[in-house]
Amino acid sequence: MAANMSLKKNEMPTQPADVRSANFNEVALGYTAEVAVNEAERCLNCKHMPCVSGCPVNIHIPDFISKIKESDFEGAYGVIAQSSSLPAVCGRVCPQETQCESKCVRGIKGEPVAIGRLERFVADWHNQNQKDAPEKPQSNGHKVAVIGSGPSGLTCAGDLAKKGYSVTIFEAFHLSGGVLVYGIPEFRLPKKIVEKEVNNLKELGVDVVTNVVIGKTITIDELFEMGFEAVFIGSGAGLPRFMGIPGEALNGVYSANEFLTRNNLMKAYREDSATPVMHAKKAVVFGGGNVAMDAARTAKRLGADVTIVYRRTEKELPARREEVEHAMEEGINFKFLANPIEIKGENGWVKQIVCQEMKLSEPDESGRARPIPIEGSTTVIDADSVIVSIGTSPNPLIKDTTKGLEVNKWGCIVVDEETGKTSREGVYAGGDAVTGAATVILAMGAGKTAAKAIDEYIMSK
């Protein structure tokens, strides 16, 4: 079969911007089977597989795409499932443009193969059409505890379960999924999909225990006493950071974590939710990352006129390009080269944001142009709500209750990058608890690395 030599990817159908900005349904609608096969035919099946090296979990990308070409979608799923425990999630939230797709040969002249969209298609096809539960692997009699049911924990648990380990995930919340359920909004990642992915793991024999806070309800030392031979810490990012400017305690000021948790985990956007959230008229988001985009687009859907304030320019925005474009299409305003210096209030509620105008100077240690204040130049934005989305600091609960667990000066758990091994024997860690806030796929990669190391550790005992 001749390859499809179109220079462009097949477009992903989406809800029109003016429609979706008023609902919480998924924005991107997914490929049909015909479009998926057509897109798959753009893959040249390169022998040296550059795309695979760009994937943190090393999915055999040309193999699964070859199966799509043959319309063997379940076969394609089988290939992905060998490497990824959460394909329907990754197909939606991975930054493919900087990973697998950035290495694609087709991208040299034209657009790369839409690997992410194909992954999503395959995973959704499987979840809709495959009704049989996977076969439970033969037990090897060893017990491993996983702390946190976010992307790193689910991946680590899935990989170990496939090897026959008896895995128990301890989740602090009432619902499993971690950032996939409390952080990423419904319109980017429907919660039904997360639930399905978690159920896929349960069918492999993974036990998920909710309402247990490791470090409080049970300590890591107690997990070993309970017979777990190794522990993986995937407890995620922790407390939100604030700007440290006047007015951040006013009513109407949220951290992105709080705003998103209210809406995603607690469904505050629904009329019938028991958890309240403010429906702002004019919301201002501080920050330019993916979380800031999620918060801004959520506020927009709750009816607000939304402005993102970012101290550098559009070019330096740390968010994925696709997220920025979606936000812009939905009518989110951007105020670049502005740094909030004060939130003014009235009767205890947010009233105005005072911003320092900035300009770009020479690059700083992050390699990005450093923003510096333009003396004497400030602007004022009217607002009744502020969402602070400038990052998080690690959660202290586990480090405070685990003797001998080394953390760095920011409180992130120190690990050997090759294995995820911490300073405590039998204790491994990965994801945001180690790196600080990063991406879903990097956390999954860390979960995968640790699963391999845990297997080697237990087998060599």
Binding site: A172, F173, H174, Y182, T210, N211, V212, V213, K216, T217, I218, G236, A237, G238, L239, P240, F242, G244, E248, A249, L250, N251, G252, Y254, S255, N257, E258, T261, R262, L265, M266, K267, D272, S273, A274, T275, P276, M278, G348, N395, P396, L397
Partner: protein, 279 residues
């Protein structure tokens, strides 16, 4: 699911429940809190631990019916279940090395103050308790406080029981008469704690307050429970809920606690209407 083993009405709006939660009971200490959800679509609500029995695996909670969630919880009966119950969260009240302490409780806050008083009493500390209520009908836990205290002073706003007046009056009188407390521990409405702190400050007596801000996850993730303490952002769920009363910005905390008042009132009325219809 967590079973309600017993339910008892302490006064017309305050209910005590014993919940079967062995993992929480194993670890709970005075001053810590739990988060519960009544049902599948419920909000996460923090409640301070009012007691525990480690061997029987029971955690006691005492709550005042003030909103939709507490109303729903109050409609649950012995033998029924609530969907989620997680903890113990927060840091326990520091009681070590205290020899003489004044406990000042207000309203349903007394339910939280009691286990602290009991803990202190059990370690041989001399406990002087001052507890205040609006009126006689609302007085709770009198016998329990009596058993844990060397002296117990009950205050009511209208004088229908104990002494008429507010809790700061006997506290001030004690301090002026030269009573030397290692610490004053106060738990109750924010406005009461603010005035307790104002009372003790001139005497320089260390005063610990138990803060109860709005929380969502309660495990150190969302930041909703932030307070300004000594000019810095602190999170009640992991740094507290106890703080040095002299350093807490009470006016800010009171403003923040009022943020959802309108929503809560509507939700409460809706819930009450629902129950009144007998649904």
């Amino acid at each position: 699911m967590f079973k309600i083993l017993s339910k008892k009405s302490l006064n017309p709006t305050v209910t005590q429940m014993d919940i079967e939660a062995p993992l929480v009971a194993r670890k709970a200490k005075a001053g810590q809190f739990i988060i519960l959800r009544v049902d599948e679509d419920g909000e996460r609500m923090p409640l301070t631990v009012a007691g525990y029995d480690r061997e029987k695996g029971i955690v006691r909670i005492i709550f005042q019916v003030v909103g939709a969630t507490t109303e729903k919880l109050n409609h649950k009966n012995e033998g029924e279940y609530i969907s989620d119950f997680v903890g113990p969260l927060g840091r326990p009240t520091e009681t070590e090395n205290l020899k003489k302490v004044c406990i000042v409780g207000g309203g349903v806050g007394c339910a939280i103050a009691l286990p602290v008083a009991q803990q202190l009493h059990s370690q041989g500390c001399e406990v002087h308790s001052i507890i205040g209520f609006r009126n006689k009908d609302l007085v709770i836990l009198e016998d329990e406080f009596k058993a844990a205290s060397k002296t117990l002073t009950i205050m009511t706003d209208d004088g229908s029981y104990g002494t008429k007046g507010v809790v700061t009056e006997p506290l001030k009188a004690a301090l002026e008469s030269g009573e030397e407390f290692d610490e004053v521990i106060t738990i109750g409405p924010l406005i009461m704690m603010k005035f307790v702190v104002a009372t003790t400050k001139p005497f320089g007596v260390k005063t610990t307050v138990s803060m109860n801000p709005v929380m969502i996850d309660g495990t150190g993730m969302c930041g909703g429970c932030r307070l300004t303490v000594d000019g810095k952002v602190k999170f009640a769920c992991v740094d507290g809920p106890d703080f040095d009363g002299f350093l807490v910005d009470f006016d800010e905390a009171m403003n923040r606690n009022s943020a959802y008042r309108n929503f809560e009132r509507h939700a409460y009325e809706d819930t009450c209407n629902l129950f009144n219809k007998g649904v």
